[in-house]
């Protein structure tokens, strides 16, 4: 555990002593802030319009009509930004020759991978944590339900962890960071849209395609439904990504 933290600290240092972390935080906050502003504006005008009509008015729900879409928008921004966060993790070590240093030190490959994973998770937590200010404002001026907010954030975190694990895997394949980012982005997008194909599929295939789709599992969480299937899906996605990374590194060295 100590070694994992040593590697994580080194990666965090690299993120925060370079512009990477600040640029990611800033761009993420601007985009999320913009989406939030638009959604709240729209929700406000809807509330005013429907104030005269009690039937429609009772259907207005800030969780469903503001935070539901906001979480989906945030997940798309994560899909675009996390590959840029993870692309350097192994590619750079390989390129500048420091991988030889890591692999000849008395720490295991698993510890190195976990260290890098933990560092990226902390950056992800930072990104999500900073958007909590929007939630605070909503509580100050409205009365949203807390449960869908918590499960929504949990969903974003778990989804982000899965993205990061896949990003780490592609980073371990190549010393070119751009190749690593494109492969990660492409694969994530494929997992994202795979349930489109399920519309035309039938039987077991429909179920399989629905199950592997990243989006399908996210929907439940944004609605406040905490289903172990969804959590297990994201955790096993992340575990599989890290496991593949371990296999790639070991097989390359022992070939």
């Amino acid at each position: 555990m100590k070694n994992v933290w040593t590697i994580a600290k080194k990666e965090l240092r690299a993120y925060f002593t370079s512009p990477i972390a600040y640029v990611i935080f800033t761009v993420f906050l601007i985009l999320v802030g913009f989406f939030f502003f638009s959604l709240i504006n729209w929700f406000n005008s809807m509330s005013l319009q429907m104030a005269q009509n009690p039937t429609y008015y009772s259907q207005l729900n800030i969780n469903q009509q503001v935070f539901g879409p906001l979480f989906h928008n945030m997940s798309i921004i994560l899909l675009l930004m996390l590959p840029l966060l993870t692309m350097r993790l192994f590619s750079e070590e390989k390129k500048i020759g420091t991988e030889e240093l890591l692999y000849t030190s008395p720490i295991s490959v698993a510890q190195i991978i976990l260290g890098k994973f933990v560092a990226s998770l902390i950056v992800l937590l930072g990104m999500l944590g900073l958007t909590a200010i929007l939630v605070v404002f909503t509580f100050l001026f409205g009365n949203p339900e807390i449960r869908p907010l918590l499960t929504g954030y949990l969903g974003l975190f778990l989804m982000g962890a899965a993205f990061i694990a896949l990003g780490i895997f592609f980073s371990s394949l190549t010393e070119n960071q751009i190749v690593s980012a494109i492969l990660t982005f492409g694969s994530l997008l494929l997992f994202w849209i795979i349930n489109w194909a399920s519309a035309s599929a039938a039987g077991i295939w429909k179920e399989v395609l629905n199950y592997v789709s990243i989006l399908q599992h996210f929907d439940n969480l944004t609605q406040g439904i905490l289903d172990t299937t969804d959590i297990v899906y994201y955790l096993s996605f992340a575990f599989f990504g890290l496991f593949l990374t371990h296999s790639v590194i070991q097989s390359r060295r022992w070939r």
Binding site: T6, R13, G97, T98, L101, Y103, T104, S105, P106, I107
Partner: protein, 308 residues
């Protein structure tokens, strides 16, 4: 301290190292000498646990490299050929990170880093970012990271490559100062590095062992003739005839760069040779001792000689 037995490494069809065996005693500095692509880096990477071997055995400090890689890594410092530096860290930050991954307990890290900085002569740059220091200092940081955890064994892959002559001398004397406390293997393709720094040498070419032993052993085994290369201004062949008659001179033959004059051990007829050349009007441009026999041996091996 280091024992390698019939080590073989294949990359697919290519055999990088074949049946390599050698041992290095504790506290000595040994050179792994060979031309480029001789298998030096591969051998070192196997010893450090970075690469597996296809066949054979290797042990460092009594630990089997393949069975107990973590034990080996704990007692080993390694400077790879490509300097493994993080350009955005300061020298001190970098060495602290190395100290942590080399398992030095947190309270002792500061002291260990300070010691490595002192030994490697990095005091003046310890607070600077690695990307902003000179090549010579980067090399020193590379060496400092190899010895920050006070390892019993240090493996240095081409430690002086890419340095200017003054830096080469500095790095060599730094390496020599580590003799005794540490067992060191360094790889090089420059013979002078071995003769000036090392106690013994393993000569490899195309992945095979060509010769190994202490410098004395190797010199003795090849045999060292006493003599000089004499270059005269004119009439080289006539001069050869005249010099042959000087007492003690055993053998004279013309070579590319002058006359190779060999004499009996214990007799030094150089005064007489000089006098003779001048008195007879041949002139004297140069007289230099014969090269070390190990140099001839190395050149013969590199240019396609046979195994010993």
């Amino acid at each position: 301290m280091i024992a390698v037995e019939r080590l073989t490494k294949k990359y697919g069809e290519l055999t990088a190292v074949k049946d390599l065996s050698f041992t290095v005693e504790q506290g000595k500095i040994w050179g792994l000498l060979g031309p480029n692509a001789a298998g030096k880096t591969t051998t070192m990477r196997i010893l450090t646990g970075f690469l597996p071997a296809t066949d054979g055995k290797a042990s460092v400090g009594g630990f089997d490299v393949f069975e107990q890689p973590n034990e080996v890594k704990k007692i080993l410092g390694y400077l790879p050929e490509i300097l493994p530096l993080y350009p955005d860290m300061t020298v001190t930050e970098y060495l602290r990170f190395i100290a942590a991954i080399k398992q030095i307990p947190a309270p002792k890290r500061k002291e260990a880093v300070a010691k490595a900085v002192k030994i490697s002569g990095l005091e003046s740059v310890k607070g600077r970012l690695i990307k902003n220091i000179s090549r010579g200092f980067k090399q020193r940081v590379g060496i400092a990271q190899a010895l920050v955890h006070d390892p019993k064994v240090i493996i240095l892959d081409e430690p002086t490559i890419g340095l200017d002559p003054a830096q080469i001398i500095e790095i060599r004397s730094l390496i020599k100062s580590l003799r005794g406390e540490h067992t060191i293997i360094l790889s090089t393709h420059i013979l002078a590095e071995v003769t000036q720094t090392c106690d013994g040498v393993v000569i490899v070419n195309e992945g095979r062992l060509m010769a190994s032993g202490s410098l004395e052993e190797l010199t003795a085994s090849v045999g060292q003739a006493e003599g000089a290369i004499v270059r005269v201004r004119r009439d080289t062949m006539a001069a050869a005839e005249v010099l042959r008659s000087i007492a003690g001179v055993e053998n004279i033959r013309p070579e590319e760069d002058g006359l190779r004059v060999e004499w009996k051990s214990g007799i030094d007829p150089r005064d007489e040779i000089a006098r003779c050349c001048l008195d007879r009007g041949f002139g004297l441009l140069e007289m230099r001792p014969l090269s070390l026999s190990i140099e001839d041996l190395y050149l013969k091996i590199v240019s396609g000689g046979t195994e010993q």
